[in-house]
Subunit: 209 residues, 2 copies
Amino acid sequence: MSESYTLHEDPISANCYKIRLTAALVGVPLTRIAYDIRKGETRTPEFLAQVNANGRIPVLEITGAQGTRFLPESNAACWYLASGTGLIPADRFAQADMLRWMFFEQYNHEPNVATLRFWLGYIGEANLSEAQKGQLAAKRAGGDAALRLMDEHLSTHDWFVGGGITLADITLYAYTHKCEDGGFVLADYPAVQRWLDRVAGVAGYAPMD
Amino acid sequence: MSESYTLHEDPISANCYKIRLTAALVGVPLTRIAYDIRKGETRTPEFLAQVNANGRIPVLEITGAQGTRFLPESNAACWYLASGTGLIPADRFAQADMLRWMFFEQYNHEPNVATLRFWLGYIGEANLSEAQKGQLAAKRAGGDAALRLMDEHLSTHDWFVGGGITLADITLYAYTHKCEDGGFVLADYPAVQRWLDRVAGVAGYAPMD
C-alpha cells in the first residue's frame, strides 16, 4: 500500500513551504489543509487533540499501511519525505553535517529571521507588545549573524553540504528567500543571493506563492 | 583506520553533556577540551577560525581517514556518534519522529529551559540585563509548556520513540535533569521524573558531573 500525505499548514509560513518544496523535489503529491495562525486556528481543542498537542503547524499527516500518523516539526517532516532520496546524503559525516545546518536553522536562523518577518511583515511594528519591541534589536543582530555565517560558507561552497542540493539547502532557503519581509537586506550577502538563484534553478523547484 | 574524537566543550553546558552521554552509551572514548563560555573563550579569533565560525560549543572534532573535521551543533554530533547503533531507530517513521523530538528540544525546550538555567543558576538574576529580565516570564512559560508536553507524552510512553532509549531521550534528558537550576519544579511533572530515572538506569549511563 502506498502512502498518502496531508500537510496541515498556514500558507504564509515558510516552515510549511519547506515541506512543499521537499515534496515537489521528490515528486510526491501533498493534500493541503490551511489554518490561520493569526486567528489561533492551531490552538483549538480539536487541533490540539487530533493534529499536534504542541499547537503548531506544520504537521505532516501520513496515511498508509500503519494507519494514520502525525509528524510535527518542519525539518522532521522534510526528513521523512526525503528518506532514501539524494536529498539526504548517505555518507555518515555528510549526513550529520546536513543535520548540523538544519539544527542551526531552527536555533540561530528561524527564531530571528522568521520571527522578524512575522512581526514586521504580518503583525506590524506598531502592533507589537513592549516585550516584542524589546527583542527587535537582538533578533536583528541574531538574524544578521546567521545570514553572515551562511554567506561565509557559501562564498567557498555552492551548496551547504557536498556537491548538490540537500535538505540543508531546502530548510535554510525557506526563510532566507523571504528575509527582506523582515527588514534584512539580501544585497549584504552576495554569496547567499547567488545560492538562492541556484536553489530556484533546481529541476522540480516549486515557488512559495 | 579507526577514528578518534575530541569534544570542544564547556563542562557546565548540558548541550556538551548530551554528546558525552551518547559516547558513553555507544562505548566510544572522547578527549575533552574545556572552554569557559562566561569568559568568551569560544569567541577568540583562534576558536572562530579553527573550531567553529559560529563561536559556540559543543563541537565534535573527528580525526580519521578523511583527516580532521569539525562538527558543530550538539544534536548533529550525537547523530554522528550514534550512526549505525540502536540509539537511532532504523524504521523510517520512528527515525523522523526521533528527529521531531530533537528539533523540538532545540526550538521549544533548550532556549527556555537551558537559558533560564544559565541566567538564574550561573549569571544570577541581579546581573541580568533589562532585555534579559524582560524575557524571564516568556521563557518560564515556554519552558513549562515544553515540560508539560513531555509529561503528557511520557504519561503513556516509557520512551519518546519506540520501546527503548534513542537520541530523543538523550538530547531531552540533558537540560531536563538540570531544569531545577533554572527554577522549574520537577515535582510538577511526575511522568518526566519517572523517565529521568529510567534514563539514568540504562546500562552505560554516565552522569553529567
